[in-house]
């Protein structure tokens, strides 16, 4: 697996896949995509990087422990539902705002926050498993 070609191309491939995963995540509300799929793509991106260059660079690159990322995602999703408490609507009701940035209307919603949380849970949980499996026993 550790061929020069694979090792050289892997970082670019990974960056592209992560970028693509974010794209899939953000467009999910109207086109095929969403947090689950985006998360799976990002997780496979990290797995590829790990296979090509070893686990240590991946861990350095994502900085946080993948389980911490997953936990933060879960927290974020739960909190996205809690937002509706302040608007006096039932838990998990979608809330939307439409700020205009540079003349472009950007729809933002608690639903999007929720979906990002889903993305983070999937990336974190799956890549933590994959990375742990890729790690050779050091002892």
């Amino acid at each position: 697996m550790r061929t020069v070609i694979f090792r050289s191309i892997a970082p670019y491939l990974t960056s592209l896949m992560v970028l693509f995963s974010i794209f899939v995540l953000l467009r999910g509300h109207n086109e095929p995509g969403g947090g689950f799929i985006g998360g799976l793509i990002a997780a496979s991106a990290l797995a590829i990087y790990g296979i090509a260059c070893g686990v240590a660079p991946v861990r350095r690159a994502i900085y946080f422990h993948p389980m911490a990322i997953a936990a933060f995602g879960l927290f974020m999703s739960a909190m996205a539902g809690v937002l509706s408490v302040f608007a006096s609507v039932p838990y998990m009701s979608g809330l939307w705002i439409y700020p205009v940035l540079f003349g472009v209307e950007i729809p933002l919603s608690s639903v999007l926050v929720f979906d990002v949380g889903v993305y983070l849970v999937v990336v974190g949980a799956i890549s933590s498993i994959a990375l742990a499996l890729e790690e050779r026993d050091r002892d």
């Binding site: 797995a47 936990a71 974190g124």
Partner: protein, 796 residues
């Protein structure tokens, strides 16, 4: 006195818990003298409840509280009538004395603060039991008394006997508590009320219900286990492993009476039936006799007293079960008298132990010169216990005989039981109070002399209280006995008995009891030997039965665990997949609703056929793969083909996800295989292959049939129409699938990602396990390799 606001009563109910919080700190500061400060808490409670006595004596009932869980109609509420008031006064009054006594008894003990804390916790719990109006509050406090009792019995936790006794008490009383909960829920179900004060109006409804017997038996399970009725009495003598203050307080004066309290409390609604008036007297009478006979056998002062406590509780249950007015008055008087004299005698026993160094009655004697105050306190308690005038015990015993006396055989039998029981209690009372003090001086392990004031204050006060209560009996009856008897009977009662004996069958029975007692006292050594021989001849008791029960339970759970958790992954997998197959095929077979065979589609496109062919190729490749890695990758082929099918039939999201899942599945499986260090290829015996293949075919075929059956049903489009129509309008999203996931069914998704997260954690920890096989024995810190006892502990 309803002027005392509900808030004050709430604070008073919480006071013991607050005192328990500061007890360790206070004890660090003041040493054993913290007892003086801590005793202020029960004293304040005593005074607070004394404030209710005028109103309660006038027939009033004080209730109060607030909503706790309004949606389930559960409240935190209290009920103060004659019954609960008497109990509250006993708990707080004796409690104050016991706290002082503890300070003297455990002076210098390095865990004294913790001990005070546990005692006060118990006090708060016990107060809660008797004061609760709401069922659930009663139950919570009830179990809390069991738990605090566990902590106190096991206080000396470095001894095996203490630990065993603590666990035994917890199992018996805690188990009884669960029965009580079930019983209360049944009553709640029948009547629809969850408050004692309201329940009193529903007596007839409850007695007429078909579930009456069930409710009764469950409640009795709770009451009998707590009040140590035969054959569940065995935990109480074992509980004597606790320090003596605990025995005096929990296991004679208060906690063990919780069961009796419950029976008295429910007497107006559950009583007055054939069942009630049969079960209670029979079990109570049996407990009375068994308890006294076993008490005769003992030589340890505390054990002698413990067994007579068992018998006294039996007597109380028996009297409560009789249900007549006099029986209730007798139970009331005896309950109060017993708390006073038995608490006092226990404290005396502890005092003797503390000063002389032994509790063995055969090794004690001639202490009257050395310990005169203790002797006086012991005598006062013993006279009350023996039922001699002018103490409260005398009133109680007269009332008992007055209540029981009748000439039909049923009553005569119980009269006989009562005479024998009382006579033997007379013997034990004087054996404890006279034997250690009279006769020639016996050499004791410690040089005996009078104990400090903290130690003799309690028993002496209780003795004086029993004397005064009897001498001013009209006052006692007005404020204590009559209101309490009224509460138990559910109608106004007046208790009138006084110290001046009057002629009648009751007095004659008293004289018979005393004569029997005096004779038995003289023959005590011979009786003891006889009982010892008898018990040895029987050779089995409920105490051993408990051990057999526990070891049986352990063996059963080991067997069940071996059966369902054999530790072999392939067995788990086979069972799981068999269950899936059964769940899929079972209902269709049961109802005979097999799907119709599909017809070959006329308009099948070429590319669709190609995809189907890829699926088949993948399948064949999996089966004929030479090694595991090839099989895994071939499984991926098949998965991708399925993803293509999703794509072709208009489910891009699903297809997308399927692609990613398949990719990751192949990668992760391959990684797992490299770590597991298995053989590259898979060799299974033919029989195993046949079994595995059958399970696989059953699962796959089941899914196929199930899917066919589902798709052949008429499709209800209500939901898809709804989502299609509203996903853009309501949720501002064109991708219906995503809108469903993150918006319409967002809470489901939240649950799912939580599962993903937890599964990830579980898998991660499985991967990280590197230590050798762990066994159950490794939980024992002493046996863990490399952490031997010599290393972990200082050898003292």
């Amino acid at each position: 006195m309803s002027a005392s606001a509900p808030g004050t009563t709430f604070i008073v109910l919480m006071l013991p818990f607050l005192a328990a919080l500061i007890a360790p700190w206070l004890t660090r500061r003041l040493g054993h003298n913290a007892a003086w400060a801590l005793a202020l808490a029960p004293a304040a409670i005593f005074i607070h409840f004394l404030g209710f006595s005028a109103e309660v004596a006038g027939g009033g009932i004080v209730t109060g509280g607030f909503q706790w869980v309004p949606s389930y109609n559960v409240s935190f509420s209290w009920l103060i009538d004659g019954l609960s008031l008497t109990f509250a006064l006993l708990i707080s009054g004796i409690g104050a004395l016991i706290i002082l006594y503890s300070g003297g008894y455990l002076k210098g003990h390095d865990q004294l603060g913790r001990f005070f804390s546990f005692m006060l916790l118990f006090m708060g719990a016990m107060l809660g039991v008797v004061i609760s109006d709401s069922f659930l509050m009663l139950f919570v406090y009830w179990e809390l008394t069991s738990i605090t009792s566990f902590l106190l019995i096991g206080f000396d936790h470095s001894r095996e006997a203490s630990r065993r006794a603590a666990i035994q008490a917890l199992v018996v009383t805690g188990g009884g508590g669960l029965a009580l909960l079930a019983g209360l829920l049944v009553i709640w179900n029948i009547t629809g009320v969850s408050q004692v004060s309201l329940l009193l109006n529903y007596g007839d409804e409850l007695r007429g219900s078909p579930f009456y017997l069930l409710a009764l038996l469950l409640v009795l399970g709770g009451a009998f286990s707590k009040s140590a009725q035969f054959p569940l009495h065995f935990w109480l003598p074992n509980a004597m492993e606790a320090p003596t203050p605990v025995s005096a307080y929990l296991h004679s004066a208060t906690m063990v009476k919780a069961g009796v309290y419950l029976l008295m409390r429910l007497n107006p609604v559950l009583g007055d039936t054939v069942w009630w008036e049969t079960i209670l007297p029979v079990f109570g009478g049996a407990t009375l006799i068994v308890g006294t006979l076993l008490a005769i056998r003992q030589t340890d002062l505390k054990l002698m007293l413990a067994y007579t406590t068992v018998s006294s509780l039996g007597l109380l249950v028996m009297l409560t079960g009789f249900g007549s007015d006099y029986a209730i008055s007798a139970a009331v008087l005896y309950l109060v008298a017993h708390s006073l004299f038995k608490g006092g005698l226990f404290m005396v026993a502890g005092l003797i132990d503390h000063e002389a160094g032994t509790r063995d009655v055969t090794k004690l004697g001639g202490l009257r010169k050395a310990m005169p105050v203790t002797f006086v306190a012991a005598l006062a308690a013993a006279i009350s216990m023996a039922g001699l005038p002018p103490f409260l015990g005398f009133l109680a015993k007269e009332e008992i005989y007055y209540a029981l006396w009748a000439t039909d055989p049923w009553s005569l039998a119980f009269v006989a039981v009562a005479v024998v029981g009382n006579g033997l209690m007379f013997v034990i009372g004087f054996a404890v109070a006279l034997k250690p003090f009279l006769g020639p001086k016996v050499k004791t392990p410690k040089h005996a002399h009078e104990g400090p004031v903290l130690l003799w204050l309690g028993p002496l006060t209780l003795g004086v209280a029993a004397l005064v209560a009897a001498l001013i009996s009209p006052v006692t009856h007005r404020f204590i006995s009559s209101p309490m008897a009224s509460a138990i009977a559910g109608q106004p009662e007046t208790v009138t008995i006084s110290v001046i004996p009057h002629m009648g069958p009751a007095l004659i029975l008293s004289l018979v009891t005393i004569a029997f007692g005096v004779i038995a006292y003289r023959m005590l050594d011979r009786l003891r030997a006889g009982m010892a021989w008898l018990l040895a001849a029987i050779g089995w008791g409920p105490d051993r039965g408990f051990d057999q029960f526990i070891s049986g339970a352990v063996r059963l759970s080991v067997a069940v665990t071996r059966l369902v958790q054999p530790g072999r992954l392939d067995i788990y997998m086979t069972v799981t997949f068999l269950m899936i197959a059964a769940a899929l095929i079972g209902p269709m077979a049961w109802y005979g609703e097999w799907p119709a065979m599909p017809v070959w589609p006329e308009d099948a496109q070429f590319h669709e056929l190609v995809v189907a062919a890829i699926v088949l190729i993948g399948l064949v490749a999996v089966i004929y793969a030479r090694d595991r890695l090839t099989a895994i990758v071939s499984l991926g082929i098949q998965g991708f083909a399925v993803a293509l099918i999703f794509m072709l039939f208009g489910a891009p999201d699903l297809s997308f996800t399927q692609f990613m899942v398949e990719t990751l599945a192949v990668v992760i499986l391959a990684l797992v295989m490299t770590r597991l260090k298995l053989h590259a290829s898979d060799h299974r015996p033919t029989l195993q292959k046949v079994v595995d293949m059958s399970v696989a075919i059953a699962c796959g075929g089941g899914f196929m049939l199930y899917l066919m059956a589902v798709t052949q049903q008429p499709f209800n489009t209500a939901l898809s129409d709804f989502f299609a129509a509203y996903s853009k309008i309501v949720a501002h999203g064109a991708n219906v699938v995503n809108v469903i996931i993150v918006d319409f069914r967002g809470t489901d998704t939240l649950g799912e990602i939580a599962v993903v997260m937890v599964t990830g954690l579980a898998i991660l920890s499985l991967i990280r396990i590197r230590t050798p096989r762990a066994t159950v024995a490794d939980n024992d810190p002493d046996r863990r390799p490399g952490k031997g006892p010599a290393q972990g502990r200082e050898v003292s």
